[in-house]
Amino acid sequence: MKKILKLAALSLAVVSLVVGCDGNGEGVDRYTYSTFDVSSPKTWNPHEWETNTDAVIIGYTEMGLYDFVLNEEKIGYDIIPEMAAGEPVDISDTLTEAERTRYGVGEGDAGLKWQINLNQAAKWADGEVINADDYVYSMAQLLSPDILNRRADSFYAGTLTLGNARDHRYGGQQVYLNLSDDGESIDGKTYFSMFKTLAFLSYTESMADYYLEYGADYFPIGVAAFESGDYGTVDDPSMIEVTDENSAAIIEIVTEFESLFGVAYPQFSDEIFFKLCEFPAFAFDGAERAVGLVKSGDYQITLYLAAPITEFYLKYNLSSNWLVKESLYEAGKSEVSGLTKTNYGTALNNYMAFGPYKLSQYQLDKLIVLEKNDNWYGYSDGNHNGQFQTDIIRITIVPEHATALQMFEKGEIDDIGLQASDMNKYKNSSNLLFTPESYTRKITFSTDWNSLASRQEAGINKTILTNIKFREAFSWALDREDFTQSLTSGSIPYVVPINELYVADPETGVAYRNTEQGQSVVDEVFGDNENGYDIAKARALLIEAYNEEIASSKAGHLVSGDEVKLTFWVFGEDAIYTNYASFFDTALKALAVGTPLEGKISVEKQVDEDYPDRMMNGGADMCFSTWGGATMDPFGIMQVYTDPDLKYEYGFDTENERLTINVGGTDVTNTWVDWNYELNDGNGDYSASKADLETRLDILSAMELALVQKWVFASIYAYSNASLYSYKIQFGTNDYVNLVAYGGIRFMTFNYDDAEWDNYLKNNTLDYTK
């Protein structure tokens, strides 16, 4: 028996020794970034990817011709050449008529022909060099009319429009195009469809989707038309020719749909009416007609564009790449009813990396492992010193948030997005990061006396909302920190409508909020009080407002003993809406303590799925309004606060109220609508092409300040997602920077290598609550 025990002990020792001597080598520091996703990507083919999950692998394994990187000060970004050998050169002055004709080059004499030298050190992960042929082949595949890749329109539908790219992609097909698109109608007819996804509905829904979702209660005309089948069906979403017989009926359908949004969106009619165009097929590099991407040297490409583009936007568009490895792309091709498709980028063996990392392991729905790509030029070119410290990236698939959170707390994964229910526990964590979104949520007030008075009953007052001091008091009574911590998943208290994501100058990435003008708005109204909460000030304002209203002689004014009852309109009955209303109710009741309105003021929740329409038409006292998007254009957002068809603030007469702004030492007075026109319309006196940036910023900040001081809304928070990062890792910056976030994997550093981290975990319990 003793012999057996000894043998067993010996075996164990040998096994331990073997296990201990793994292939990683002793004494070599290895840094692994462990993260997770909820599912595997469906494809990471750069021509087909669809979702953020699909883009995860590409983000590590590919590199654009140019890349946005955190600048030295870590408050903005630099744009550096990566797969390109230098800056793009605008050689539009060399354009010949023959080139213009062949490549479909647009009108103008600048920004239409660009030459880009390629990085000659760039290689595929298998060591093969990448040259101009790879770029041309990959673009030909991306735009192939036989493949119809999902991402093809990246090169003709946005700001970068390669000459003839769209026409080549549609080659040999008849295609319905929007009326304003370039292209000759082949039959001179106009068509209508209720099945096309619409840009202003974020391309996710069509009119038919709304009919299915909301039914005849909301769209009696549209739903009847939809159900008649006369305008196509879900299974056969055909185009309907607009004729003399049906045009009146179609206009009724469209008008009804527009009324949901309370406006005729500028692009709306263009999105639902079409023309039929035919595109003759032509080769990607045809002699008569060709796509505007040409190999002009072994390591040089030239782009011919259908519309001019600035250097910044060219580099912005080229910060993602379209390269695919020809041998694997071709090997993966198969035919589906005449359509060619490839399985490129769906498994370990049918994809080739060319960025800092390469795929080393891929188990569907389980694990993705990436390791350093030794053939990436950046590890030896001397330009990336101190970057890409991470050796291994492990992405574990963990569908359940609760499971992932436990794994984070045990040190198995290095970062995790938080949900609202997690915030209470981690709100004080030093490892909390906030990733802002462009949207700012505000409580918007109706300031129209008549509509408010019309909803009053005996002893109930609402017209006090028209008093600017009352609205200001309301704003100062809101503890935004408390609101965001208790009712959002990491959003940030915010007191002004344009948040930090808006970039004043795309070339440098400087946020509007960080400019002198942007900062002055906050300083002037709120000073250091970024929470915008000051109950003493609020009460003083409330008393003043009360006295003014009591002294008013207008019909329906507040009289002593009246109760102020305000309704807060929300989308549904969900608990979160009740909580919002309850927060405002509590805040107002606290505000009124010690004032004549103590115990006589309340906020009540009211539900209407169409509450924006109600608010815009004066049927509501208050509601939430949220605007965001187009972060590269902070000036453009003024449209939603000034356009009578878009703004929520009923009673704020932007067409007639005038605003005086000192522009370059001269006072200029315009209506709010006109100020928006002057700033944002191409013909406006202060548009981007006519005024310098400083002047435009002066105007924007003056408009924003005046808006805030009108108190027709009170900004409450800027949307933001909270996440935690582990003690193991460190981001390039903990302050979010537009376009580069926290610096990404490029600037990620480690406080512990893998062995040290394992050791730390053995001897310590992680606590992320402090």
């Binding site: 469906k42 494809t43 669809e50 329109d153 299974d235 589906v336 769906t346 707390e409 045990k410």
Partner: protein, 321 residues
């Protein structure tokens, strides 16, 4: 018996066809997934829809669908989970993980369930029986996701004894200690319900058999209590339990939607859930049919197993003479 099996197989195929037809029609009536985003080409999805025959009349679509299955065993391709991968491959790739976890769950639940049931029956109305009965009631009434999260919280988060999720078998292999350790929690989460079921049935059946006249006779013949229980009572009580065991073994193929999600088991159950969430209709259709087949085969095997356990039960025979 042969005739009976043939008849059942015929009925099975018929049921399968009817269910498949209904499923196909219902799925094809759903709106096609035309996801889009700024910068993405939305026409592409509609063109693909046409290429895959979605614009044909529904009967024509069904004809194409059946023809592809019969001639090529082609059930379509995944459009949302694994781009253009045949759905059969999408499912069969995930089958091993499901079978692996379920097999362990059954191997644990049968002996434990039977053992506890026998013990409870033998100690009927004693404290041990009452404790077991309470445990069984708890195991049956507490939803599996609660049990799973509880086990995960205790054994992973608090005690740190076991991993939170199943490890990647591509990395550690199927039979390494790391992998086996990582499936203990999902296996037990799955087994809890089965153990409770086996325990309850075994206890009920055995309790009844133990009070039968033939047991009295067996004891009167001089058999010890153990001999009588094992040789006579247990065998007789197995008549309703054995088919349960057969059914459990067949269900090895079908994954648990909830448990696989919580423990990140890359199996069939998780795939089914994902196909619903991502509107991957062909995958949903194939996995649904896979579950239907499992259900029908399990029902057939259970019926047949009655005759094996108790030769007195004759299935499909004519009227007794």
């Amino acid at each position: 018996m042969g005739k009976y099996i043939i008849k059942r197989l015929y009925l099975m195929v018929l049921s399968l066809f009817v269910i498949m037809t209904f499923l196909f029609i219902l799925i094809r009536l759903l709106p096609f997934h035309v996801a889009g985003a700024p910068g993405a080409d939305n026409d592409y999805a509609l063109i693909l829809r046409e290429a895959y025959g979605y614009n044909e009349p529904i009967l024509v679509q069904y004809g194409i669908f059946l023809w592809n299955i019969i001639t090529k065993f082609d059930w379509g391709v995944s459009m949302q989970i694994s781009w253009l991968t045949p759905v059969s491959k999408v499912l069969f790739d995930r089958l091993p993980s499901t079978m692996y976890v379920n097999l362990f769950a059954i191997l644990i639940s049968i002996p434990i369930g039977l053992g506890l049931g026998i013990f409870a029956a033998l100690r009927k109305n004693k404290i041990e029986d009452q404790i077991i009965s309470v445990g069984v009631m708890l195991a049956i009434s507490v939803p599996s996701f609660v049990t799973a999260f509880l086990l995960q919280y205790i054994f992973y988060s608090k005690l740190g004894w076991l991993p939170a999720i199943m490890t990647a078998t591509d990395e550690s292999g199927w039979f390494s200690w790391d992998t086996i350790k990582s499936i203990i929690l999902p296996v037990f989460s799955l087994a809890v319900g089965s153990i409770a079921g086996f325990t309850r049935y075994t206890r009920a059946e055995l309790t009844e058999v133990l009070t039968s006249d033939f047991m009295l006779l067996a004891r009167a013949k001089g058999l010890t209590r153990t001999q009588a229980t094992i040789n006579h009572a247990l065998r007789n009580s197995m008549v309703p339990i054995f088919p349960m065991i057969v059914g459990e073994f067949i269900s090895i193929l079908g994954g648990s939607l909830i448990i696989e999600n919580i423990f990140a088991v890359p199996g069939v159950g998780k795939l089914y859930l994902t196909s619903i969430q991502k509107l991957d209709y062909d995958v949903f259709m194939f996995v649904s049919m896979f579950y239907v087949v499992i259900g029908l085969v399990a029902a057939l095997m259970v019926d047949l197993s009655y005759g094996i356990v108790d030769p007195r039960i004759r299935i499909g025979g004519g009227k007794a003479e």
